[in-house]
Every structure is written in structure tokens, then in C-alpha cells.
Amino acid sequence: MFWEILLLLAIVTAGTGGELCVTRAMKTIGEVKEFRPAAVIRVIVRALQVGWMWLGLLLMAVAFFSLLGALSIENVSFVVPTTAMSYAAGALGGKFFLGEQVTRQRWAGVVLVCIGVTLVFIGRK
């Protein structure tokens, strides 16, 4: 149980941190308006020149290997929904790290998600 909780925490914290860093990098790049393969590749190359993107990728790699570790000992239908705890961390990060306005309605959605995750955890077999 100790390792499961540790791995789930690593997935949530590193995964959320990674996504916040990637968001910051992509906001630096600006809105993507072209979706032809060459244009998408140009965007990826530009994104890889932003430091936040590399930090984001590093954190996501930590989250990825933690996910692999968790999946080796638990079912995917338990591990993946449990990682939705990152919603609370994401809303907080969106508000305080990226300066987004998280409305009451969004907070309500996040609370529902957290209740759902709790039930998934309780329904563990």
C-alpha cells in the first residue's frame, strides 16, 4: 500500500507540475492557428526552445515511469481514475501559477471529480 500511495502521489504531483510547465511554454509560443503537419512540427520545434517545456517534459517523464510502476501492481481502471486528484492541484496551479480565473463553477466541477476519485479509491477490490 505504501508504494502504491507513493507512486500515485508522484504521478499526481509530477504530472500536474509537468502540464503546468508545458502550458506556460505553449502560452509563450502563442495560439496555434495552423494544423498542417509541417506547421505542427514547426510549433513543436519552437516549443522545444522554451525552458519551461524541458522542465515540463522532465516532470512528465517522472510521472510516466511512476505510472508504469503503479500499473505493474494495480489495475488500470483503479490507477488512472485515482490520478484525477491532479484536478485539485491543476485548478490551484492554474490560478496561482498561470494567473487563470478559476470560477466557482469550475471549483464545483473539481470538487465533484475529487468525490468521484474518492469513490474509485473506496471501490478498490
Binding site: E19, L20, V22, T23, M26, K27, T28, G30, E31, V32, V40, V43, I44, A47, M60, F64, L67, L68, L71, S72, I73, N75, V76, S77, F78, V79, V80, P81, A84, S86, Y87, G90, A91, G93, G94, L98, G99, E100, Q101, V102, T103, Q105, R106, A108, G109, V110, V111, L112, V113, I115, G116, V117, T118, L119, V120, F121, I122, G123, R124, K125
Partner: protein, 138 residues
Amino acid sequence: MNSSSGLRFKTYVMILLMVTFGPLGNAMLGKGMKSVGAVSVRTFPDLLHTLRQIFTSGSILLGVGFLLLFFVANMLVLSWADYSFIQPASSFAYGVVALWGHFLLHEVVTPTRWLGVLIICAGVFVVGYTPPRTTEPH
């Protein structure tokens, strides 16, 4: 199509791609890791052996491929939409991954767990009615 409906349309297309590729990738990783077995890394050769097992598994490589497609869709949508909108809105993936777990990997999903997944999806609907962007574009 005005800019607001255009913004919503492209946002929802990207979310659809994320909800398709993300759960499929996770299900494939789950399948691959089940065949690898519980990971126990005590020495450096253990680590190399485990990494070799992981990266020679067809299911895991396929899973990584799907997750890369998920990541590109995620990256593109985050260039215009709020993170705190995209993250919950893409949580349909949690329902989809439970379905894959049940039907593809034959996992036992208890009624309480299904209820939890449904409530997670309800959270998505609540969040889905908030505007996709609250910050000014750069």
C-alpha cells in the same frame, strides 16, 4: 463560424483526440505492465533488466505511441485554452479507461468504482459550461 464558436470547435476536436488516444495508451501500458509483472528494482542490473522488459513490450510501445498522439493534441490545445478548463474537460478519459479496463483487460470494476467514474464525468459537465479561456492571448 465566428471566432468564439471556432475556438470552441477546435477546442472540442482536440479534447476528442485526447479522450481517444489517452485511455487507449493507458490501457496498452496496463496490458504491457501486467505481462512485465510487479517491478522490483534493488540493483542497477535489475533496473536495466526491467527497462529492457518495458521497452521491448509491443503493448507498451503501442501505448507510448498513443500517448504521444495524446500529448501533441494536449500541447496544441493548451496554446489557446486554459489549463484549468482542458484538464477537467478531458476527464471523460477516466470513464473511457475504465471501459477499456473492463472490456479489453477483463479487470473487475466494482459498482462503487463505476459510480466514482460517473461522478468524475459529472464534474466534467459542470466544468464544460465555463468559458475555455480566461486569460488574454499573448
